[in-house]
Point group: C2
DNA sequence: ACTGTATATTTCAGTTGTGAATGAAGTGCC
DNA sequence: GGCACTTCATTCACAACTGAAATATACAGT
């Protein structure tokens, strides 16, 4: 149960790192996928790669669109599909947040040697996904 | 999978373990403190020991009260204060959830030796509560 | 006793998540 | 072509959280 405490404290630290940029971890994760893809992505693909429900992405993109960080673009080939695209402002805010997160992650792991980080991840592997 | 991802999946497994009992992890944690104290606790004390904001406890207790698992009792010594108390049903549901969580935790750690569990917790310690 | 000030809870608005139900659009089969 | 079936996104209602503002009570100091 202590694992959960660590989770929330780590998340809070990362969240705090990008708060001055006006982004949350949830918003950053979506923007990060868009930046990585380099092209507009369908909302369903975002939901799947984020391991969350579609309606969650709908609402996140709603807020990102209100922030003018992403735009919805229609897909001419499949009129059901709607793709999300980073705006110019979105790209620069994402870049700033990525730098801040890198720095925060560096500080986070500062208490561990590279060897310890590796064995931490190795020990965690058997915990993920049910038996 | 990264650190955050693994820890979220752990949380989801624990959540799933008590879902059949009709409890969430958030509700269980509050009830666990009440069961541990053995007496009604002020909502402010619950908020502090849960490391969350007071309004969150207000709403959690609202839902627990609607479920008839917890009751609000007035404090005659300080009429600002309201204390939460487990009902009979609350006590038995808490006991059932505690057993289910123990079992889930046992399964969770099944892939690791006792030695590995110890070193996992030891490695996680420096990640909490940043410098 | 009165006037601040601090404390305890609540209320409200907003973020992030889930799951069920809806509507719109593609796909396959007869 | 018409029908069922799936897939896409959205809407709605709710859970769990935060933080700001409101309310009620306690407890000073004067």
């Amino acid at each position: 149960m202590d694992l959960i405490g660590v989770l929330h404290s780590v998340e809070a630290r990362l969240e705090a790192a990008i708060e001055p940029i006006g982004l949350s971890l949830a918003k950053f994760k979506v923007m990060n996928k868009l930046a990585g893809a380099g092209e507009p992505l369908p909302l369903g693909a975002l939901a799947e790669s984020s391991a969350c429900v579609r309606s969650n992405i709908t609402q996140l993109v709603d807020r990102l669109e209100a922030d003018k960080l992403v735009a919805r673009v229609d897909d001419p080939r499949d009129r059901r599909s709607i793709r999300a695209e980073l705006t110019e402002e979105g790209r620069s805010r994402h870049a700033a947040a990525a730098r801040a997160l890198e720095e925060a992650e560096r500080k986070l792991y500062a208490g561990l040697t590279q060897e310890q980080r590796d064995s931490l991840l190795h020990l965690l592997r058997p915990l993920r996904c049910g038996p």
